[in-house]
Amino acid sequence: MNYFLEIAPNLLAGLKMTLGVFFLTIIGSVPLGIIVSLGMKSEYFTVRWLINGYIWIMRGTPLLLQLIFVYYGLGMMGITFPRFEAAVIAFIINYAAYLAEIFRGGLQSVPRGQYDAARVLGFTRTQTFFKIVLPQVIKIVVPSFGNEVINLVKDTSLVYVIGLGDILRAGNIAASRDVTLVPYLLVGLIYLLMTAIVTVLLRRSEKRLNIWR
């Protein structure tokens, strides 16, 4: 317990970094994911190919490589981002690809007939999407979206490769300084706490959305 209090300030400083990457990624990747998923249904084949290529690259290569590429690779080509920004950009474009696939699944589960009905009733395409399709999609995708969010909590630990000090690195430092595994145990508990909070929040929103099922 004493030891925990001793290293807690460092772990909390690392936690700040973890949470920063986490929230900015959520905020950035959800809208981008929706746009990408709509693009997949585009009438222009070049747009569809472009987006499929993007998703293929993002899902087909390790996030760790993408981080290295965004920070060091683009840096060599003259596009330099600061460390934190580079991490957030890499996470957003990666998670947007996964989320887009989830949203696509949601979009496809809305029956064709609803679009036709909306058109007969005189809804514009924008109105149909925002008033009829999107509310149903949100409800459908919550469980799989939650899965990705929980993955994201843990994936944030990859930022170590571009020298950012997240909570796992803080644990690493304490472990190598004090030659003990206890810091890892504490880090694990903090991750569990974070995922517990995320799980509860998702359950609640799921329940609330179920009202009009």
């Binding site: 070049t46 747009v47 840096g75 080509m77 020298g163 190598s176 300084r177």
Partner: protein, 284 residues
């Protein structure tokens, strides 16, 4: 439904943009690799010493898990032998040091992309590294030693016959181990070594008996053995590895910066400040 004409126009515009991006990527990637190879040749062209002196700040990269060279104390402050030495050296030049934690396997990339100005963190001179960075004068010497459990009775490198060895990935010890296979590599099991990212994990495995020996720099060996529950349980074997020269790594173009650091290190060696800092970190 969109008209055929509109479809063709949008498709070709998007197609052209994609081709444009790929073309630009290919060109800049190509020139990027050229630049790095050119950097080595046109050495005095871009010297960052002026900028460092003007800003009165230098960014040094370190792996903040490297005890006792550079690590964090419980308050999160970066401390260590190299940290004291570098801070003192640059302070005498009126420059403050900004310590930037980096991933150790990315250190040369960090340096050559300009994210950091120097690698000063128990950085050992090797032939492979010398191709990418310019080293300062040697300021510290250490050799690679073998740490084993006393009960296993391993007292020389040849006792490692058929035993499992661990070391740190991308460390100079790992490089030395592979370059001089006769010294130790020929003995260990399958001529392979288990690579760990940090030594504390390697020690955990050594204690658990999953590896029989650990190849480690003697400075780290001393620190880690001293911090184990029972330091008497370990044998530290000095074998036939050459002594490692620890130095500071700079970009090849930063000639003036390197010269300034070399001068300061020489001064420190003469006036005893070097010994003072060494005593503080290595006398246990």
């Amino acid at each position: 439904m969109v008209s055929m004409k509109k479809k063709i126009i949008v498709n070709s515009i998007v197609g052209l943009i994609v081709i444009g991006i790929f073309g630009w990527l290919a060109i800049s990637l190509n020139s990027g690799t050229k630049n790095t190879s050119q950097n080595a040749q046109k050495s005095t062209k871009t010297d960052d010493w002026q900028r460092i002196k003007r800003d009165k700040q230098i960014t040094i990269g370190l792996d903040d898990t490297f005890v006792p060279m550079g690590f964090r104390d419980k308050n999160g402050k970066i401390i260590g032998f190299d940290v004291d030495l570098a801070n003192a050296a640059f302070k005498s030049m009126g420059i403050t040091v900004k310590w930037q934690p980096i991933d150790w396997s990315m250190k040369e990339t960090e340096l050559n992309t300009g994210n950091i100005d120097a690698i000063w963190n128990g950085y050992t001179k090797t032939a492979a590294r010398a191709k990418q960075v310019a080293f300062s004068d040697t300021y510290h010497q250490a050799t690679q030693v073998l740490v084993t459990l006393k009960k296993n009775n391993i007292n020389q490198f040849s006792d490692m016959q058929g035993k499992v060895l661990g070391d740190q990935t991308a460390s100079s010890g790992d490089e030395t181990f592979n370059e001089h296979p006769k010294v130790l590599k020929q003995y260990v099991k399958d001529q392979k070594v288990i690579g760990y990212d940090t030594f504390d994990k390697a020690f955990t495995d050594l204690n658990a008996g999953r590896i029989d020996g650990l190849l480690i720099d003697e400075d780290y060996a001393r620190y880690y053995v001293a911090h184990q529950a029972n330091p008497k349980n370990y044998t530290v074997t000095v074998g036939g590895f050459a002594v490692d020269q620890t130095a500071v790594g700079f970009r090849k173009s930063d000639v003036k910066l390197r010269q300034a650091v070399n001068d300061t290190l020489t001064k420190f060696k003469k006036d005893g400040r070097m010994t003072q800092i060494e005593k503080k970190w290595f006398s246990n």
